[in-house]
């Protein structure tokens, strides 16, 4: 029985199942919600299966077509891929559950196929070991994300989606030019082979610059973040959740992977690491301050994403001397933020549906009328602020530890300041939800599925705070960070 379980190609199912599900939703729109939920559940099951398989057999390696790199394309799953796939599956299920109640039929008919294809693109991206294949998955993800962003049809959504599309296309083209230089310089597009073959030549530097610039634009690191707030704030609530939680992390994952496997071993990276660190600091400070200034809830949450992405980049300057801790922090922050931010956007969607607006000052009485939603927002906020117990706390703690052991007091200060600012904007929102209303507002019912989906993801973010040991052990499968021991 056990061998049967580990023999099933869970990684392939992760890619093919959502593709098939999306096509079915396209062909039979009336059954779309059923197909969608079944697919999301199937993805969760497959991720569990893959995790089991990785624990038993180590990294998963599949040569598509039987040809093997460099001629063919390889699929590869190690601890880091698994972590991102877990985040995708959890957020994917939560978003699917939420969307059943959220979309009216005329929008749902378009939402489900595109959403399932986005899920497939994410899974294919995290499993790919080929930089050109990653380009195709990036485009697939980008087109799906843009279409979903524009789904409400409002003027802000259309402009936000257009800006997003132009930014993502620019990023992809810069990335592709880098891929072209790498292929023509080293004769392969396979990540593992490139790692063996690269040398510090001018075209390698050019490729590094182009790929980094393209992926930084897609990850919305300051100052290339300009497209994110309008897009994430004007998209439908579940879509905003997916965008902030998963889509920006996907390009970050590629950057991290290429950095670790190809560029970092041979490039004298101090300048680049310092640059990433500086931009991360700027992102944290700018994003948090801007979040404090917002009067609309979804824009506040979007700027919070800009800030949280900055934390991920703080690990680059810290990794040189404290690699284990710094990269584990990144992994933890990525998955915690994914769950918490998705929950937060879904809670905002509930509030929007309930009150008809998302002005922060108008959020009174929410605690009494929508306790589950308020709870979801509060729990998610705990993780974003980095308070114990939560996944966000573990991530920030690991980052602080990495900074303290190297005497980087500047980074310690920034992390603490970022946490304080986050507390500022989270409590600003929560404070308004607890106030009594002077005037009774007209309110609309919020479906239970939407409230529970938000709450479950928020609870998940908190639970991550208790799962540090097993999670860090999972991330270490296959030694993705190039270090032989992961502390538990």
């Amino acid at each position: 029985m056990e061998t049967v379980l580990t023999d099933i190609p869970w990684a392939l199912i992760l890619i093919l199942l959502p593709l098939g599900g999306g096509m079915l939703c396209f062909l039979w729109p009336r059954m779309a919600r059923v197909f969608g939920l079944i697919t999301a559940a199937g993805v969760m099951l497959s991720v569990v299966g893959l995790g089991w398989q990785l624990l038993k057999n180590g990294v998963y390696h599949h040569q598509v077509g039987g040809w093997g790199a460099p001629l063919g394309i390889d699929l590869y799953a190690d601890g880091l891929s698994l972590l991102m796939l877990i985040a995708t599956a959890l957020v994917g299920f939560g978003v699917s559950l939420y969307s059943i109640g959220y979309f009216k039929p005329e929008k749902a008919i378009h939402f489900w196929p595109i959403w399932l294809f986005l899920l497939a693109a994410l899974n294919a991206l995290f499993l790919s070991a080929d930089i050109f294949n990653l380009y195709v998955t990036l485009e697939m993800m980008g087109l799906a994300a843009v279409s979903l962003t524009a789904l409400t049809g409002s003027r802000e959504a259309l402009s936000g989606a257009m800006r997003y599309l132009l930014a993502t296309l620019l990023g992809s083209l810069a990335y592709l030019l880098g891929v072209a230089l790498l292929y023509h310089g080293f004769g392969t597009v396979d990540i593992a082979l490139l790692g063996q073959r690269v040398e510090a030549t001018p075209y390698l530097w050019a490729a590094l610059g182009l790929i980094s610039a393209g992926l930084l634009l897609k990850t919305a690191l300051f100052p290339l973040h300009f497209w994110l707030p309008p897009a994430h704030a004007s998209a439908p609530a579940p879509v905003s959740g997916v965008l902030s939680a998963l889509v920006v992390k996907a390009s970050f994952y590629i950057l991290l992977r290429l950095w670790l496997e190809i560029f970092e071993p041979i490039v004298d990276g101090e300048g680049i690491e310092t640059l990433f660190g500086l931009l991360g600091v700027a992102a944290i400070l700018y994003g948090s301050v801007q979040a404090l200034r917002q009067t609309r809830l979804k824009l506040l949450i979007a700027y919070s994403t800009v800030a949280q992405i900055g934390y991920l980049f703080l690990a680059f300057p810290l990794a040189a001397a404290a690699g284990v801790t710094a990269w584990s922090a990144v992994a933890y922050l990525a998955i915690s933020h994914a769950l918490a931010k998705a929950a937060m956007f879904m809670a905002a969607g509930n509030l929007l549906q309930f009150g008809g607006h998302d002005r922060i000052t108008g959020l009174d009485r929410v605690v009494q009328r929508l306790p589950l939603t308020a709870g979801a927002f509060a729990l998610a906020g705990v993780s974003i602020m980095g308070l114990p117990p939560s996944g966000g706390f573990i991530g920030k703690w690991l980052l602080l530890e990495a900074a303290l052991t190297q005497g980087r007091w500047d980074l310690v200060g920034v992390i603490i300041l970022g946490g304080l600012l986050a507390a500022g904007y989270i409590f600003k929102v929560l404070g308004h939800t607890f106030t009594q209303a002077e005037v009774t507002h007209q309110s609309t019912e919020v479906p239970a599925g939407m409230e529970w989906a938000a709450l479950l993801l928020a609870v998940g973010a908190i639970l991550l705070g208790f799962l540090a040991a097993p999670l860090l052990m999972l991330v270490g499968i296959g030694d993705p960070f190039g270090i032989s021991e992961i502390r538990s």
């Binding site: 077509g65 005329e106 050109f132 195709v136 279409s147 230089l181 075209y203 050019a206 610059g209």
Partner: protein, 220 residues
């Protein structure tokens, strides 16, 4: 606005110079994967190296790219499409042009599909021609009959990527690797996949041009 240009130009010139220098520093002579491709070509089922790479060695990329094309259509439909001008009476030039060109386009598409196995050609090239034929027809005011425009059209659009996914999964069950064609059947499998892909690509390109998603009979 003018001030920004003056800052931008030197930055871009530096970028171009840097990229140019990087390109020129590439090795003068490099084979890339050419030898590996020619060595494995007998087992690939086709004798055109580009088709072999596209449909066999890197077929997984092609599978995903067909989904990307379908995604673009889904996106355009979700936006409400772009309404075409209705031309119920095409002018004499368009009318004659269409009558002459459509059969030629279809023939050339079929030829390109067939010849793709051993000379430049293949599913995408043929599909583009069919798409062009569809656009010409749409310009004359022709529309797909309502009964065909709903589920049958969707089936045609999905057939290309859908068959790819099905074949990929099937080959995994049979051969143990995703999309691993058994060498004896490779040629016929590739031809089958390319034919259905050609039809899907043509339909998708024409549908991208046409406008809104056709309504199902039962939908509100």
């Amino acid at each position: 606005m003018e001030k920004r240009h003056w800052l931008l130009l030197p930055l871009l010139l530096t970028l171009t110079a840097g990229l140019g220098y990087a390109v020129l520093s590439l090795p003068e002579h490099a084979e890339g994967l050419q030898h590996m491709v020619s060595n494995k070509m007998e087992t690939s089922g086709v004798s055109n190296p580009v088709t072999a790479v596209l449909l066999n060695f890197r077929g997984y990329d092609t599978l995903l790219e067909m989904v990307v094309l379908l995604l673009a259509l889904l996106g355009v439909w979700s936006l409400g499409g772009a309404a075409l001008h209705h031309e119920t009476m095409p002018g004499p030039i368009l009318d004659t042009l269409v009558r002459l060109l459509i059969p030629v386009l279809i023939l050339v598409a079929a030829y390109l599909l067939w010849v793709g196995a051993h000379a430049p050609g293949g599913a995408f090239q043929a599909g583009s021609l069919l798409g062009a034929a569809g656009v010409l027809l749409l310009l004359t005011g022709w529309r797909l009959r309502a009964g065909l425009a709903a589920l049958p059209l969707r089936l045609m659009l999905v057939a290309g990527p859908g068959l790819f996914v099905a074949v990929a999964a099937l080959l995994y069950l049979v051969e143990g690797q995703l999309l691993a064609y058994p060498p004896a059947q490779a040629a016929i499998l590739i031809l089958l996949l390319e034919t259905v892909a050609m039809l899907s690509i043509g339909a998708t390109l024409a549908a991208l041009f046409s406008g809104e998603r056709p309504q199902d009979k039962e939908s509100k």
